[in-house]
Symmetry: C2
Subunit: 192 residues, 2 copies
Amino acid sequence: MFEQFRNNFRFSDDKWNDYSSRFKRMVVPAKTILLKEGEVSKKMFLVEKGCVRVGFNNNGTDLTFQFFFENSTVASLESFKKQLPSQLFIETIEPSVLWYVNKKDVDIIIAEINEIPVMREKFLDVVFERTFDYMKHFLSFIKDTPSQRYVNLVKDNPQIIKRVPQHYIASYLGITTVHLSRIKSKLAKGKR
Amino acid sequence: MFEQFRNNFRFSDDKWNDYSSRFKRMVVPAKTILLKEGEVSKKMFLVEKGCVRVGFNNNGTDLTFQFFFENSTVASLESFKKQLPSQLFIETIEPSVLWYVNKKDVDIIIAEINEIPVMREKFLDVVFERTFDYMKHFLSFIKDTPSQRYVNLVKDNPQIIKRVPQHYIASYLGITTVHLSRIKSKLAKGKR
DNA sequence: TGCATTTAATAACAAATGTTATCGTCCACG
DNA sequence: CGTGGACGATAACATTTGTTATTAAATGCA
C-alpha cells in the first residue's frame, strides 16, 4: 500500500516501521461518513481501495467539492491543519478499504520529515502541487463552459466518469443533473 | 514597507539587512507588464503602493484571475516555483511602487528560513493559507450565483470594487460586463 | 428472484446569462 | 484645455442553464 511513499521518501527501516505502525486499516461499506460537516477533523485517510467524496451542504442541496480514488490522501485540509470545525463532509461512495492516521501522529511524522532537507522539499512540493491543482480547477471555471469542463473531465479524469454517480459529477462541475444529461446527449449527437 | 515581515519572522539585524538588500524598488505606471504569458517567472513582487492584476488570455478574451493590493506578494506561483512558462500574465492596474526579488534570492531566503523550525512553520502556514484561499474562492463558484459572489466581494473585498475597472471584475466573477452591470442595477433597485 | 430505491433521460417551461449594438460620461494625456 | 479612447449603462434578442415533473432503466438488497 505505502510503496509509493516509501520509495518517495526513502525512510530507514526503523523509521518506516515506526511511521507505518501509526496507520490503521479500516474496511467500510459505501456511504460511510468519515467526517461530518461541523466536526473537527482528527484523521487523515489514505485510500487503498474504493472512492471517497468530499462535499458540503448548501442550504439543503448536497454539493460535491472533490473525489478521491486509490492511492490518494484525503482530509478536510483546513479543519485538519487548524483544528477548526470542517465546512466539508467526507464520505465513501464505494465500499472501501482505507488507512487512517491521527492528527497527532501526522504532526510527529511531518515534524521529523521537516528536519531532513530533501524530505522537507518533497513535502513542500506535495503541498504546492495541491495548491496548483486547486488553481487549475478554479481557472477552468472562469474560462470553460460546463460542456468543456465535462469534456476535460472525460479526458483527464475518466475514473470519475466511470465510477461516480452522475448527480455527484454534476455538482462537481457546477451544474444540475439535468444540464449534465443534456450535455452528454448533445455530445453523443455530435459524434454520430 | 517590510515591517510585517520583519515582525512576523523576527530576523536578527544581520539577517534582516542581508534579506532586505535583495529587494529592489521600482516605480511603474499603470498597465505595466510585469510578466508575460509564456515567459518563465524570475521575480516575485511585493506591492508597496498600487494594484496588480493577474490574468490570462483565453483565445482572444482577457480574463482576470486575481487582484493584489498594498502589502501583498505577487508571482505566477507555479511558473516561479517550477521555472516553467507561465500560463498567466501579471500587470499593474494603477501607477505602482513595487519591490522585487529574484528567484535565486528567494530560494536562498526560503532555504535559510526553513532551517529554523519556528520560521519554517510560519512559512508553511503562509503557503497553506493561500491554498485555503483558493479553495474558498473556488467553492463560491459552485455554491453561489454570480449576484451572490458580487455581494460577497463588496463585503469582503471592497478594495476591488473601488479601485478596479468593472470589466476586470466581471471576468474575475466569471461573468460578462453586461451581466455585472445588470446585477448592480438590480441590487440598487432592491435597496430603494 | 423480486422489489424498493437509486439513478439517469427527457420534455416543457421559466429564469439567468451571453451577444451585439448604441449611447453618454469621464478622464488621461497631448 | 480639448479630445480620443476607455469605461459603464442599457436595450433587444439569442442562447444557455435551471426547475419541475414524468418515465424508464439499473442497482442493491432482503
